[in-house]
């Protein structure tokens, strides 16, 4: 480890880092703007200047930009040098010449990096007394507000949007002291990662427009560590509340998962919490009742009836387990479509075997090759797509810098060397996707053919089977891909459930297994549909079909349906049949939907914001989200609390108290062995540091004594949180909390999201105390074949039948996030995709209305001709209005 001297004290630092990273890692406060740990250095802002000396005898030294200088053993530096300090102050003065002096009324104020850096450098006197330059702001869509006058031209926005995330509609224009950052004209930012601009921008040029609509200062938010609810990736977030409404979602750094970023669905999809459509009171037979009446009624329907429970892929582990605990293992069913459930079983089998490790997003970013089989991850797991992009770019950069060594952080130089060099990535999907443009190879095929290609690749890497009836072209492609993969050392294979095709999953496993056999270190990622699909699958509940058969067989069933709209995931005919046969239907959910309408007993459940829970992400990572605030509405509580109450009713032990979270989690660990270790995802409720809890409110939180004065002039006693070590107050431990329980990033002098520097072991590295979450798939059950080998037959078109497959959309396909107006506004109109040949055969054109007929349902959509689509497949927008309950993966008829 190189030893460097900073102001004459020696420090050991990590080789290969730049001086700025080294200084920040050591805990020094050194100001910066353009450098970003995920995006490297460009040396543009000149803010991070320090003095460097030739040796210990050199007293004059030279000012350098610390972000542009690698650490060298024996290096002598000074941060405190007078000239360096004066220069840093001068840079701020320059940047502030044109920056508005409206911090008190600026929405970035109090969480502004520029503000922090200004204070840090000591600049406090303005010598510039001219008019400031002004710009015209742009309308950038529902998510991001633009305030160009605040710009300090650090170029971070374009570097993130264009270079890091591949966006095409934000750029820098003009030159000299009039450079402009924005779109070519007003319009919605197209990238699904645009929200990160609000955090990447060191000041308030790009801000969260949804927050502006119900604005609250950062320091006035009650916030808690949370986990995104809108796909299976499990990005870590921080959710903030004031006056009983959820105000915003910001990134919560997790080096292994989402790093510094979030997708727009995750960031802006939170407004369902504040929705008018929330279920606010218990109902019995559509009549609002109070708690006593509810409990009384529950007693009658729960006892003397046979109980079954329908588990939910979007409810927490705690709630699903509480349901299982209530109804018994044998009466616990999964509320997912059968085909999907079988796939998820397959996935958990594979992962449980421990044969191939699951790839975290970080591992995907670091992979030197990626193969995607049959999953449009741009739409089903956007942050995973962003990680794949980084793999492609970073691998390309590494290749380019092999001959001309250049540190990874030297962004512009690496880019210059790299030019168009990209890492190897194969994107094999049903139709074209947004990741195609960075792929080395794009192949569009039917699911069975995707699987066949996968098996062929595996066989080329490690011959294990005899391939019969394979076209030469497929074998040639497979060979090309296999040869490339054999040049790599840590490739990642990504697949998922979107093809509704088991062979695709098996093929993905076989590729990974073959790579492993070839001495590589492969990892695999299976994308599943919902935020806790993986957790539900691991519970191994029975298929929904069995539940239908059960109610058909048994007359006296009370079904408890947990947090889901069955009509969304299952064909309406089947759900109707099921519900009509249940004697009693108890539904717990947070929002009204088609299923809640059928409820005999409807119970208001909390969302992630009003309750605690644990979700299991695609990688089997159990992650805890914490209650953000106590809702005024006392009926809103976690499903697991309601369900535990019901259990008490049945067992006759009702005492009017809710169970504690700790006890639910420990029962889960005891009852279901596959979840052993899940309690380590977060500290228990009894956890404290020096006897203090972790405050959800920063010490600057204002208005506490007055904000509830409309109800009571004396300040109410804060509600105690029995379920977590977090308190609903501003008092408590002010130091760094455990990494999984960080309610906000703040350190003295660091009020912006950049404060995360102070929570990391090294800059851009793991959080102090390790990254949040426990990965549950670590053990090997050994119950797996070496290879599956069983490749399917070549896809064949059928007479007058089409294979129905989903087309997912970042905005629109997710059930809850569409309650956010911005996301709803960006959802496309549902459509039906057909190949040009099929369209011609059916004699339909773009926009013609065509009807899909499956067993019991009919759906009608306008046609979209999709060039890349294979004949014999019909593609329908998933999750959009009118597309609920479709029989994905089945053959359907089409009619004009």
């Amino acid at each position: 480890m190189p030893k460097i001297f900073i102001d004459n004290t020696s420090y050991e630092v990590k080789a290969g880092k730049n001086v700025l990273e080294a200084c920040l890692t050591l805990g020094f406060d050194l100001p910066y703007f353009c450098w970003h740990p995920a995006m490297g250095s460009v040396g543009a802002c000149r803010q991070c200047a320090v003095k460097v000396y030739k040796d210990e005898n050199d007293t004059s030294g030279k000012i350098i930009m610390s972000c542009m200088e690698g650490v060298r053993d024996g290096m002598h530096l000074s941060i405190d040098d007078k000239a360096a300090k004066a220069f840093r102050e001068q840079v701020i003065e320059w940047l502030m010449t044109n920056h508005p002096h409206d911090c008190p009324v600026c929405d970035e104020g109090g969480s502004c990096h520029l503000q922090d850096m200004t204070v840090m450098t000591g600049h406090d006197y303005r010598r510039y007394d001219y008019k400031k330059r002004t710009y015209v702001n742009q309308y950038l869509g529902p998510f991001i507000h633009h305030e160009m006058n605040r710009c300090i031209q650090c170029y971070r926005c374009v570097r993130f949007y264009k270079d890091y995330a591949g966006g095409k509609d934000l750029n820098v224009f003009a030159a000299h002291n009039h450079v402009y950052f924005g779109r070519e004209k007003d319009g919605t930012l197209e990238s699904p990662f645009s929200g990160n601009l609000a955090e990447v921008c060191p000041t308030g040029v790009f801000t969260d427009k949804t927050l502006r609509q119900h604005y609250t200062r950062k320091w006035d938010l009650t916030s808690a560590p949370s986990v995104c609810q809108h796909c299976s990736v499990g990005c870590n977030t921080i959710a903030g509340e004031r006056y009983g409404g959820l105000r915003n979602i910001v990134n919560r750094y997790n080096a292994e998962v989402n790093g510094y970023f979030l997708c727009d669905r995750g960031r802006f999809g939170y407004e369902f919490v504040n929705s008018e459509n929330r279920i606010t009171k218990p109902q019995v037979m559509h009549q609002a009742v109070d708690e006593n009446a509810l409990m009384h009624h529950l007693e009658t329907v729960l006892t003397n009836h046979s109980l079954i429970g329908i588990g939910s892929p979007r409810a927490s582990m705690e709630s699903n387990f509480a349901l299982l605990d209530l109804v018994g293992k044998e009466n616990f069913f999964c509320g997912v479509y059968n085909e999907e459930m079988m796939l998820e079983r397959r996935i958990t089998d594979i992962l449980d075997s421990g044969k191939i490790p699951v790839a975290s997003l970080k591992q995907i970013e670091d992979a030197d090759a990626v193969v995607i089989l049959g999953e449009d991850i741009w739409n089903t797991a956007p942050m995973m797509a962003l990680a794949v992009r980084q793999s492609v770019m970073k691998t390309g950069g590494r290749e380019a810098t092999e001959k001309t060594p250049m540190p990874e952080w030297h962004e512009l130089a690496v880019k210059e060397l790299q030019q168009n060099t990209k890492g190897f990535m194969v994107n094999v999907t049903v139709t074209e996707t947004s990741l195609d443009e960075i792929a080395s190879l794009n192949i569009n095929a039917a699911p069975d053919d995707i699987a066949r290609l996968g098996f062929a690749i595996a066989n080329h890497i490690h011959p294990s089977l005899e391939l019969k009836n394979f076209e030469e072209a497929v074998l040639a492609k497979a060979k090309t891909i296999a040869d490339e993969l054999l040049k790599c050392s840590n490739p990642v294979i990504i697949t998922g459930t979107s093809c509704y095709n088991d062979p695709v999953l098996r093929a993905a496993f076989d590729i990974a297994a073959a790579l492993k056999a070839a001495g590589k270190a492969p990892a695999i990622a299976f994308v599943v549909p919902e935020c806790n699909s993986m957790g539900l699958a691991m519970m191994r509940g029975h298929a929904f079909d069995t539940a239908v058969r059960r109610v058909n067989r048994e007359p006296n069933v009370t079904a408890v349906i947990l947090e889901q709209d069955l009509y969304r995931n299952l064909p309406a005919g089947i759900v109707d049949e099921f519900l009509s046969k249940c004697r009693n239907i108890i539904v717990l959910d947070s929002l009204n939907n088609a299923t809640t309408e059928k409820a005999h007993v409807l119970i208001p459940a909390s969302t992630f914001a009003e309750g605690d829970g644990t979700l299991i992400s695609y990688e089997g990572r159990a992650q805890r989200y914490y209650q953000v605030y106590v809702p005024d509405n006392k009926y809103i509580r976690e499903s697991w609390k309601w369900l535990s109450r019901m259990k008490m009713i049945i067992s006759g032990k009702a005492n009017g108290h809710d169970p504690h979270h700790d006890s639910v989690i420990s029962s889960l660990e005891t009852a279901l062995r596959q979840f052993a270790g899940i309690s380590a995802a977060a500290p228990s409720s009894g956890f404290s540091i020096h006897g203090e809890q972790i405050p959800r409110e920063p010490h600057r939180y204002s208005g506490r004594t007055a904000m509830l004065a409309n109800r009571n002039v004396s300040e109410p006693k804060p509600v105690a949180d029995g379920d977590s070590p977090l308190s609903f107050t501003m008092e408590g431990y002010q130091g760094t909390p455990p990494s999984s329980a960080i309610p906000f990033f703040w350190k003295p002098g660091w009020n912006s999201p950049q404060a995360v520097n102070k929570y990391q072991q090294e800059i851009g590295g793991d959080l102090i105390g390790g990254n949040p979450g426990v990965r549950l798939f670590v053990k090997s059950s050994g119950n797996m074949p070496e290879f599956f080998k069983d490749y399917p037959e070549h896809f064949r078109e059928r007479q007058n039948k089409w294979l129905l497959l989903p087309q997912s959309h970042v905005f629109g396909s997710d059930e809850l996030s569409v309650y956010s107006a911005g996301i709803a506004g960006r959802s496309p109109e549902p459509y039906m995709g057909l190949s040009p040949v099929d369209a011609k055969m059916l004699d339909v054109t773009e926009g013609s209305q065509v009807t899909i007929k499956s067993e019991k349902e009919e759906y009608s959509f306008p046609v979209k001709i999709v060039e890349s689509l294979r004949n014999g497949i019909v593609l329908v927008s998933k999750g959009l209005p009118g597309t609920q309950g479709m029989s994905w993966g089945n053959w359907v008829e089409l009619a004009k």
């Binding site: 000149r46 001068q90 940047l95 010449t97 001309t404 030297h410 210059e416």
Partner: protein, 450 residues
């Protein structure tokens, strides 16, 4: 009369065309060079002591020897014809009147460096010169000096002319390469240097027009003979573009053995100051180099005669000296206002800043505003110190040398003409009506920064 190697033939009728040029010894250096090994040509250039004529004065032979030569990777020679430094118009003269000299130099240099695709990046405003150059290129090709297998040497070379579009910054070599690649002219951070990774990620040499033209006489006469011309490390001849308040503005070739005084007053060169006015100050090497008051122009602070050489012009450092720079020689007579002149330069540099790094982007605009106030009678006394402070912090702290180029003229103006600035502040009304005129600049003064 000094030796002329570059523009001696400009007076010949029809020299712009191949036949005449060839008749007068043109392309002889190509014939000679193609019999040499490329490495030997580089050696000759090294021996000649030729220094880059674009402004920085870096030894050309050394620059060439840095060029990386990885297997299977093309190398490029790029001619920097983005002449934009105020006061400089020598390359234009050379290209306009004797274009074949540049083409000849480019063929030899391309051969020496192994560049099969050579570009002339010319400032966009020199639109008609593009036609002249393209015609010369076509003629050279017709006559076998360009194209495939030149003079049966097996060496192929094409020269392309690319127009810029109005950005001074593209004269900086890495910005030029960015612009040539079809991007904004933002300078790159070095390393990597163009000699290793330049145009399209390939090893690249970027040389000024005059530098490449000078390759022709060097090859013709030999590096040793060339190095004998001039004084010390200022070898060979240099084009000086003289402008401002002189009788004979224009482009002159000097052999770096004459004094500054001779250059200003000799009828062979500037021909003195018009209307019998006195000389007030001079910027001897393009707008970015320090302005010198008359008393420091002809004699160094040590009292020695100041010569038109790299070393002598720089004698005394920035305290009492200046630089040869690009050879843009700007003369101010006694009626000129240094504040106003400095203001136009500050405006120029603000306008030409690429906007990438903070000191230059924000500092240049601020300096322009302050100078504007001082010039128009709205200045305050501490504005002068502020101006000094800003330029001092810009200098040396930017990605590319544009920051320095913007800071130096301001620094030198304050250093040598502070009383003129003060007079503007103290006499706002009067400064609008008349100029300060000549001041007593007998002793160079130290300026202590606030």
């Amino acid at each position: 009369m000094g030796k002329k190697l570059l523009i001696d033939r400009v007076g010949i009728e029809g020299i712009r065309y191949f036949d005449t040029y060839r008749k007068h010894g043109g392309y002889a250096s190509v014939e000679k060079a193609f019999k040499m090994a490329p490495a030997d040509i580089v050696e000759e250039i090294k021996k000649s002591g030729l220094r880059g004529r674009g402004g920085a004065g870096f030894p050309t032979g050394m620059k060439w020897s840095f060029l990386a030569k990885p297997e299977g990777v093309p190398r490029y020679l790029v001619c920097n014809a983005d002449e934009s430094e105020p006061g400089t118009f020598k390359d234009r003269y050379l290209m306009e009147f004797i274009p074949h000299l540049l083409i000849e130099g480019l063929v030899v240099s391309s051969f020496a460096l192994g560049s099969n695709r050579t570009f002339i990046y010319i400032r966009g405003e020199y639109a008609w010169i593009v036609d002249i150059l393209e015609q010369a290129i076509e003629e050279a090709r017709q006559n076998g000096f360009l194209g495939n297998n030149i003079l049966n040497s097996g060496f192929d070379c094409e020269i392309y002319v690319q127009r810029g579009a109005g950005a001074y910054i593209c004269g900086e070599e890495t910005a030029l390469l960015e612009s040539l690649e079809g991007k904004r002219g933002n300078p790159r951070i070095k390393p990597p240097f163009p000699a290793v990774k330049g145009l399209w990620d390939s090893p690249t040499v970027v040389n000024n027009v005059e530098t490449l033209a000078a390759v022709v006489p060097i090859i013709n006469m030999g590096g040793d003979a060339y190095s004998q011309i001039g004084i010390g490390k200022s070898t060979g001849t240099k084009l000086i573009s003289a402008c401002g308040n002189i009788n004979r503005p224009g482009v002159y070739e000097i052999d770096m053995t004459i004094s500054v005084e001779e250059f200003v007053y000799s009828d062979e060169y500037c021909g003195g100051i018009p209307n019998g006015k006195k000389l007030k100050a001079c910027i001897p090497g393009g707008s970015s180099v320090p302005i010198l008051p008359a008393n420091l122009l002809f004699k160094t602070a040590k009292g020695e005669k100041r010569m038109m050489t790299y070393e002598s012009l720089a004698d005394g450092g920035f305290q009492t000296g200046s630089m040869m720079g690009s050879g843009g020689f700007i003369v101010l007579d006694e009626d000129q206002c240094v504040v106003r002149h400095t203001l136009t330069l500050a405006r120029f540099y603000r306008h030409e800043s690429c906007g990438q790094c903070s000191p230059c982007r924000e500092g240049t605009g601020w300096m322009e505003k302050i100078l504007n106030n001082i010039e128009y009678g709205r200045g305050k006394m501490n504005d002068i110190d502020l101006l000094w402070d800003i330029q001092r912090r810009i200098e040396g702290n930017t990605i590319c040398p544009l920051g320095d180029a913007a800071a130096w003229p301001v620094a030198a103006a304050i250093r040598h003409f502070r009383d003129e600035f003060e007079w503007h502040v103290l006499n706002p009304e009067e400064s609008q009506k008349r100029n300060y005129g000549l001041a007593n600049y007998a002793e160079p003064r130290e300026v202590v920064a606030s």
